[in-house]
């Protein structure tokens, strides 16, 4: 249970949140035409006759877009509808050449599913929570109006017109901005794991319509408002916070909430009315007669399922149960595609170089990946060339450390040099003298000398003052110029001090 409440004059209010996320499907071409989809192209350079709605043009579904939507549905363990259909949503606007958007109202391709958000005390999520997903349907994106090109006219860029979107509709299951934020991040991670959307909110590949209402505990849902096209996790959280407060203010001052569409202003973090229910369009949805129902064959579904990668929840579980990582490390490593990809590559390489099982070196590699390596890179900042941080180089360093050839401090020093120069870590360790001495004879000689020179302290130690052990270790390391293998030093001292 979220403990997020708005303290109003009349008591505590609970916030109810549902999100409709529009995610651009990763595909080379548009949902119903062969035109390209790359971001940032010259205006109207990626427009086919279909996208411009020339007379007599017809849509043909792009199998790849359908496949991505199905895979996404499978990733949230949703009902996949082997029979679905496209509908037309009719309205006039200059960015909508056909005069209708092809979407799926009555029979979406993906039905109910769910997504887990993990407990995060710091963020105010006391325990794991399952958020229901109502449906996913695919639809066409619209073009873009440009109002700054001419003093009296607006221009239209149809590059986005017809690009495939997935609309992922949650149930009203979230109760705090933090839960909404966690849901969005988790959804984004799943989309990126699956490869069905790049999740790039800045480029508009993912944006959310935010439905918010408030109620007193135990009461039915209040009237909701929908804030359109919010394009970052932070803004979604801000929009919820502001909108919930606003609704509480309205209700407590005796007003009623109007069901309406609102706009978020990132500058002020506030929302304002866009259009009320009375002005709402009558979209006159009806089945698109240019398209046959979409029937998914068993083979196609099997291929979609087989092509799914290991997903965040499963991966996290495996990291803890099989690799023996801490839950914290497991969560950090699985949060982003890039992070786990780097980790798994380095883990495999390290296991190979050391000849050990992955589970045996996983904790070492996880600590290296999450704290040691990022720390070194951050400290070096501009002096580091990230391209030098190859998995092979890092695995070599980790292997030397694993064998006790280098200390933790030496590992960092070697990595610094690798980042700056791209030199081979083993060569660096040798030429720069960055290796621990594990040669028992040399260390033994040093230990003997120190015992001989400190007979009084040896006496005290043997008399029970065990704290002096650290003194002997320090003296030995000093004598060895810090390069002695601490394990060997410890063992020798224990043997000799008795």
């Amino acid at each position: 249970m979220s403990n997020y409440r708005i303290q109003g004059a009349t008591g505590e209010w609970e916030v109810v949140i549902g999100l409709e996320v529009h995610a651009q499907v990763t595909s080379q071409s548009k949902l119903f035409s062969g035109a390209a989809t790359a971001f940032g192209a010259e205006p109207n350079s990626q427009v086919s006759l279909v996208d411009a709605a020339m007379p007599g043009m017809l849509p043909v579904p792009n199998a790849e877009c359908i496949r991505q939507a199905v895979r996404t549905g499978m990733a949230i363990e949703a009902q996949i509808n082997a029979w679905s259909r496209f509908d037309r949503k009719n309205y006039f606007y200059a960015d909508l050449p056909q005069g209708y958007q092809i979407s799926q109202l009555y029979h979406p391709i993906v039905g109910e599913g769910s997504l887990l958000i993990e407990a995060d005390e710091k963020a105010g999520i006391p325990e794991d929570k399952v958020i229901g997903i109502e449906r996913i349907h695919v639809e066409q994106d619209a073009g873009k109006l440009m109002h700054d090109q001419h003093p009296t006219m607006s221009y239209v860029d149809l590059n986005r017109s017809g690009v495939a979107l997935m609309e992922i509709v949650s149930k009203p299951d979230m109760r705090s901005p933090a839960e909404a934020g966690a849901y969005l991040r988790k959804l984004r991670a799943i989309l990126r794991y699956v490869g069905s959307c790049d999740g790039n909110m800045e480029e508009g590949s993912m944006r959310a319509d935010v439905n918010v209402s408030v109620r007193k505990a135990g009461e039915p849902f209040g009237t909701r408002t929908e804030t359109k096209n919010v394009n970052s996790v932070r803004f979604v959280m801000q929009a919820i916070e502001h909108e919930a407060m606003r609704q509480v203010d309205v209700l407590e001052s005796g007003g009623t909430i109007v069901q309406e569409t609102r706009l978020f202003d990132p500058g002020t973090g506030t929302t304002r009315t866009m259009r009320s229910k009375e002005d709402a369009h009558d979209y006159r949805y009806f089945p698109d007669p240019d398209l046959l129902p979409l029937v998914l064959e068993e083979d196609f579904l099997a291929e979609c399922r087989a092509s799914l990668p290991e997903l965040p929840d499963a991966k996290r579980k495996r990291y803890v149960e099989v690799l023996g990582l801490t839950p914290y490390n497991a969560r950090e490593l699985t949060a982003e595609v890039e992070t786990f990809a780097r980790f798994e590559t380095l883990l495999a390489e390290t296991a190979t170089v050391t000849g050990k099982d992955e589970a045996k070196v996983a904790t070492q590699v996880a600590n290296w990946s999450l704290s040691v390596a990022p720390g070194v890179m951050k400290a070096l900042s501009d002096d580091a060339d990230p391209a030098n941080a190859t998995a092979a180089a890092q695995a070599s360093i980790l292997a030397m450390a694993d064998k006790g050839e280098i200390s933790g401090g030496q590992a960092k020093e070697i990595f610094e040099i690798v980042l700056k120069t791209g030199r081979d870590p083993n060569e660096i360790a040798d030429t720069e003298g960055l290796k621990q001495v594990s040669d028992t004879d040399a260390i033994e000689a040093a230990v003997d000398a120190i015992i001989a020179a400190n007979a009084d302290k040896v006496e005290q130690y043997r008399g029970g003052k065990e704290a002096l052990f650290g003194f002997f270790v320090g003296q030995t390391m000093k004598a060895m110029q810090g390069k002695a293998n601490p394990a060997v030093v410890n063992q020798l001292l224990k043997d000799k001090l008795g």
Binding site: G56, N90, F92, P97, R284, F286, D290, L291
Partner: protein, 493 residues
């Protein structure tokens, strides 16, 4: 030598192939006939150069000993609903006046690939909405036929009225048509020619200006069943650019033509015996039965119980789709733009569409918008779709008892232009026999049967099972052979 313009598709193709005349001679003769027939207003634009260029290509191919296409050397008219590369394509609407596509419809491209040439773009009812060819922005088409003892300008039918008039007047050997609710069959019946609407999906809709997508289907209009079989063969075929296109092989309909109907059963739907049908039409229907029986067929009574609901359902489904299909004509990207000084986007839409669409088009957009509106959708659109399914089931059940259905094409013969404009419903009723096959997506054909007392042609309609164009053509051929329809309009233009 026979006058070349009196020849149909088969004779022209064979004549060019065996060297009786050149394709250029044919094209030249038809170009002259077209130029001489401006009074019919059958063409919106003429393209004599296109016809000549296609002819020269055919003549050169023949001279080089290369194989010739199915339509080699045959000049045809192209209904102005088909997008033609570099040639104005208007759907007979002001809103598309001056629009010149940079693409070619699949069907027209297939015809050019088969060696046909284009005489011009044929007039039609605006956006194919109409049954008399009186809704064109470019003026009415006048039928070449006259009522006996009258000089009144007669309707060539619609919406493919330019096509029917041109073929009947022998200024084109054949023409393309499109049929949404009778737009090939009714004008064919009115002008004494043949026309077949194949199974929905046989001909690609890509590049045809859409009226009602789930009903629109292209087909040939020509003066004989054989000519229709040849031309349909050149038009049909799977097109990956049309999701509703049929992915199945195109049979060689011409080769398999046979008027021997022994072993076939012809169904007579009792519900087509409607009030308001001319006695001459009913008599003609009786005659048709006799002809098919003579060809060896067994005549059986069948029932299509939902027939009377087909027309109302059609006038919900077709306008609903049209209201959405025609939303793209908004003045933003092509065609007419009416932008009064100082107004905004919504005003531009309103002004453009008010000026660009004709009354009948506006009427259907309004009906379609209404039936799809919140609160009315289930009562109208959903209900109409149910009726449509029942109409299709009627046919499926009937085809358990027969192989092909014989019915009148229209309840009346052609009427004078301007005589049916008082009430749009009267006009809509003219498609009462044509619409059921459209709703069911079935192949259906009109063949000329006889002349009524006024000297006007009457047609008979044949409806077949899905994909059985052959059965329809064969029955049509049997009628053609027995009807011996030789009447042709007296040249007055």
């Amino acid at each position: 030598m026979t006058e070349l313009t009196s020849l149909g598709v088969k004779d022209l193709r064979d004549g060019v192939r065996d060297g009786s005349f050149t394709a250029r001679e044919v094209a030249t003769a038809f170009n002259a006939a077209v130029a001489d027939a401006a009074a019919l207003n059958a063409f919106i634009v003429t393209t004599p150069d296109h016809a000549l260029a296609a002819a020269d290509t055919v003549d050169a191919a023949r001279a080089a000993g290369e194989p010739l296409g199915k339509m080699a050397g045959v000049p045809i008219g192209m209904k102005d609903l088909f997008a033609t590369h570099g040639v104005q394509t208007t759907a007979a609407s002001h809103i598309l006046e001056g629009f010149t596509p940079r693409y070619e419809s699949t069907v027209s491209q297939k015809l050019w690939d088969a060696g046909a040439g284009m005489l011009g773009k044929l007039n039609l009812d605006q956006f194919a909405m109409g049954s008399s060819n009186e809704t064109s922005y470019f003026g009415n088409v006048t039928s070449p036929w006259k009522k006996a003892g009258s000089n009144a300008a007669m309707s060539p039918g619609g919406s493919s009225g330019g096509s029917s008039a041109a073929v009947a007047a022998r200024i084109a050997s054949a023409a393309t048509g499109t049929d949404t609710g009778g737009s090939i069959r009714q004008p064919a019946a009115f002008t004494g020619i043949c026309g077949i609407k194949p199974t929905y999906g046989r001909c690609s809709r890509w590049g045809i200006v859409a009226f009602a997508s789930s009903l629109d289907q292209a087909g040939p209009m020509a003066r004989s069943v054989e000519d229709c079989a040849i031309m349909l063969g050149a038009m049909a075929g799977f097109d990956p650019k049309d999701s509703t296109s049929l992915d199945m092989p195109v049979p060689d309909w011409e080769a398999a033509l046979s008027s021997d109907l022994r072993g076939k059963k012809v169904g007579i739907p009792r519900e087509y015996r409607m009030e308001g049908t001319d006695q001459a039409i009913l008599d003609c229907w009786e005659q048709g039965k006799a002809w098919l029986k003579d060809a060896g067929a067994e005549i059986v009574d069948v029932s299509l119980p939902h027939t009377k609901y087909a027309l109302p359902a059609y006038y919900i489904v077709a306008p609903a789709e049209a209201s959405s299909n025609l939303a793209r004509y908004d003045g933003v990207r092509y065609g007419l733009r009416d932008l009064p000084e100082g107004v905004g986007l919504q005003d531009m839409y309103a002004a453009t569409r008010a000026a660009g669409f004709g009354d009948e088009v506006k009427r259907r957009i309004l009906i379609g918008t209404y039936v799809l509106s919140a609160g009315f959708y289930d009562a109208y659109y959903t209900q109409a779709q149910k009726v449509r399914a029942l109409v299709a089931r009627d046919f499926a059940l009937a085809f358990e008892q027969c192989d092909v259905i014989l019915a009148p094409t229209t309840p009346t013969a052609s009427f004078p232009l301007g005589s049916m404009n008082e009430d749009p419903l009267t006009m809509y009723l003219n498609d009462v026999f044509a619409v059921p096959a459209s709703l069911a997506g079935l192949p259906a054909m009109s063949v000329p049967a006889t002349i009524n007392a006024d000297g006007l042609p009457l047609g008979l309609q044949l409806v077949g099972r899905p994909f059985d164009e052959q059965g329809v053509l064969n029955a049509g051929l049997a009628i053609q052979q027995r009807a011996g329809f030789m009447a042709k309009p007296e040249k007055w233009w």
